[in-house]
C-alpha cells in the first residue's frame, strides 16, 4: 500500500482503482520511479486490475513519465486488466498526440466518462 510519502491519491470504488497525482509537475525522475512502483504494487495486488488515472491539476509531464505509463499499461494488459486515462489538460494531451500515445491509451475527458467505460 502507498506510504505516507505517496506521490498518488488512490481511491477504490466499484472495483475501479482511481489514481490522481499529488504533484503538479511530473518531471522528477525519482518521483516518476516512485509513482511507477506504487502503481505496480496496485496492479500486482489485483487479478484483473481496473485503473483510472486522472491528470487533473497536472501541469507538466516528461517523456520519462510517459514511459512509466507505458510500463504500467503493459503490466495491466499482461493481467487482462483495463486502463483509462482522464482529465488531461489540452497542452499535455498535445504531448500524447505528438508521441502518438493517444492511440495507445484510452483517454476520456472526465473521470466519470472513464469509469463508465470499464467493461
Amino acid at each position: 500500500m502507498p506510504s505516507a510519502e505517496s506521490r498518488l491519491r488512490i481511491t477504490d470504488e466499484s472495483g475501479v482503482t482511481q489514481v490522481g497525482f499529488i504533484d503538479r509537475n511530473i518531471l522528477d525522475e525519482a518521483n516518476i520511479q516512485q509513482i511507477g512502483e506504487e502503481l505496480a504494487e496496485i496492479i500486482d495486488a489485483d487479478d484483473s486490475p481496473k485503473l483510472c488515472i486522472s491528470f487533473a491539476n497536472v501541469d507538466h509531464l516528461s517523456s520519462a513519465a510517459l514511459g512509466t505509463l507505458i510500463t504500467i499499461s503493459n503490466k495491466i494488459k499482461a493481467k487482462n486488466g483495463q486502463l483509462r486515462l482522464a482529465q488531461i489538460d489540452p497542452q499535455i494531451y498535445e504531448v500524447f498526440v505528438i508521441t502518438k500515445l493517444n492511440k495507445l491509451f484510452e483517454i476520456h475527458d472526465t473521470t466519470e466518462d472513464a469509469i463508465k467505460s470499464f467493461a
Binding site: 507538466h60 516528461s62 517523456s63 510517459l66 514511459g67 512509466t68 507505458i70 499499461s73 502518438k100 492511440k103
Partner: protein, 149 residues
Amino acid sequence: MAAPSTDINDPAPNRRRLPNERPALEEAATTIVSAAERTGYPQASCFALRLAIEEAMSNAFRHGHRDLEPDADIELAWDVSPERITIVVEDQGPGFDPKSLPDPTAIENIEKPSGRGLLLIRAYMSSIVFNPSGNRVTMVYLHPDKSGD
C-alpha cells in the same frame, strides 16, 4: 550562479554548470522560463520551453553520462530576447548520432517505454542542432508572433 560569457558573439551568454540534483535542475529551468515570461512569451511558449529544457537535461544525464561518475555535471547556457530564445545543453559524455535513434512513434516502438525525449524537443522547438560529436544540443525557440508562422 550564472556566469556571463566574455564572447560577444556567444549565442547563449548566460551559463551555469549543473549537478544531477533535482533542486538545481528545477531552479535552472525556472530561471529560463521566468525570463521568457518577463520578456513577453505566452504561456504556451513557456510550456514548450520547460518541456524541452527538462528533456534535454534528462537526456544529458541519463544517456550522455551513462558511463560517467554520478557527480559529473552538465553545462546549461541560454539567452532570452524578445525574438528568440537559445538554450544549449552540453554533457561530458562521448556523444551520440541523433540520426541513429529509432522512431518512437513507429508501430514496433510505440509500446517501448523510452526514446521520446528528442521527439518532443524537435516538436516544440523551432530548431535544434547537435555539435559534430553529439554531446551538445543547441535549441532555438522563436517567439510565435515573430517567427512568421
